[in-house]
Assembly symmetry: C2
Homo-oligomer: 341 residues x 2
Amino acid sequence: MPVNQLRRDPITGRWAIILNDEFDLNDLIIQSPKLKNKTQTCPFCENNETMTPPEIMALRNPGSFPNGPGWRVRVIPDRNPVLQIYGDINNRGVGLYDVLDGIGAHEIVIETPHHNQSVIDLSEAQIQEVLLTYQARILDLKKDERLRYIVVHKNTGEAIGETAHHCYSFVIGSPVTPKRVKDELVNSRDYFQFKERCLFCDIIRQEATMKERLVLEDGVFFAYAPFASRRPFELWIGPQKHETFFEQNTEMKMLSKMLKALFAKLFKLLNNPDYILAIHSGPNLQAGKRRGYWQTLERDFHWHIEITPRLETDTSLEVGSGFPVNPVPPEKAAELLRKTD
Amino acid sequence: MPVNQLRRDPITGRWAIILNDEFDLNDLIIQSPKLKNKTQTCPFCENNETMTPPEIMALRNPGSFPNGPGWRVRVIPDRNPVLQIYGDINNRGVGLYDVLDGIGAHEIVIETPHHNQSVIDLSEAQIQEVLLTYQARILDLKKDERLRYIVVHKNTGEAIGETAHHCYSFVIGSPVTPKRVKDELVNSRDYFQFKERCLFCDIIRQEATMKERLVLEDGVFFAYAPFASRRPFELWIGPQKHETFFEQNTEMKMLSKMLKALFAKLFKLLNNPDYILAIHSGPNLQAGKRRGYWQTLERDFHWHIEITPRLETDTSLEVGSGFPVNPVPPEKAAELLRKTD
């Protein structure tokens, strides 16, 4: 039997332990609770617009009005934002510590007016509109020089209450770069300085040649199971041509088609799993210019989307030691996903 | 009302969002399952020694024999180790990726022969023997030049089966340094190069002056709620005098006394929570010398113990965006813990 492997992810610098034991897919699947019927009390449903703060933007049918029905995608501020949009960052030291006031944006993108739809119920056209909405929000928030980084993310496994059965995601605009993203930015920059090539471009070229971790490619986008996957069936999707900013990509129709196909595979193979999705785009150069920190960046970083199904895995070693333990080698995950249709 | 704060942890470089809302302690407490009675099938119980692999070491009563009853602390290899001790690391590249065979140590420290004891049931003398056992295992594993880092950790919330009700911890010897620990080592080294002082010493001096995050001090050890705590009631404990290696400390009696007092406070205030404990010591200089990487280290790093109770907190933002959101400011956590006796 081959031994387990320690694998290093070149983008984040993090090691994972990839097991080589046999695994039973059924042991990994968490039975998600059944969807609930539409209720009167979900604030994200059409006709309940008055239950939310006023909308920031919406994609609307002709003749409909803001904060009324007739929308297809709707963006609102979180009712209890952890970061708030008004005020000064007030960057300061407390002795040797760094502290900022919790300034930023904390927005909710409601991806459909209908309750009880999950991502695989959305049409390609609807997914495309959600992606275009993310782009619009990132572009708008990047006008704010206080905000260094805009994260788009989604986590279907943690929501509680009525909204747990409504399809939505978050856009967070932050005055600091999250550690995980900063690791990616710094490693990508260091690699470029060393090799004069983009790290992510090199990875895609290698994966396209090796093919064992490839899941889908369409000439524009490339989806694969990363070499040092932290979790079973983790997937990364990025443009095949070098591009720093997700919000500048003009192929959202192609991307929605690929995402639809990937989610169809994941949902069929893993029995409708909860999942986490995050878009890692380049940072806000408006904020960067002010600090003169990221000026070489545009050539360095390569945007991508990370999708991670929420499966039953033992995280006790990871939490204590820092090593994620992944029972499904990414080559096996990619093979199973390629075969699923 | 004061706004939320973004706080940066100087040792790891990670930001956390500290909320300033009111919180109800009872909302955070997870009701842990009741302890089960001793059974015939727990392999960690005294008299069941034949159910485990042969012991690596044990603290034994006079007249007792290896792999029989009569021990007070017992160390065994994990039956299903994610890292195995025999073989070559086989450090190699796969194209641009780095990979090593899963070589290392994966040991279990059984902290008591008795079922159904949690850490607060152990006497100071017993805790001291557990700490001395950790030291012995670290010293022994550091003789192995293949191993770069030895992690001691414990996670009472994830165990399943019979052993869930037995008190034990892990010692992992790894050929690579976990990302989280490496961040600490690199930040500590960079700080020393900039300031010519130890970062952790500076933190302890500052916390000893400010006092608002101090929980306990006894002239030798110092326990406090870190400024950018990721989780409510996170605690760090370290020696007040600069010291790089946990395993070289000769004050384990004092440390066991402080840990006993801290756990008594945590268990009383938070109703017997599950918790994570990790010891961060300096890396293995034997492995370091071979690679010439850590030679300035002894002055840079300062060992410490991290204890984090497992409470009900919303991690959805953290998982997607990378920002932990902590509803209990560490000043408040420290105040509540100081008042608990």
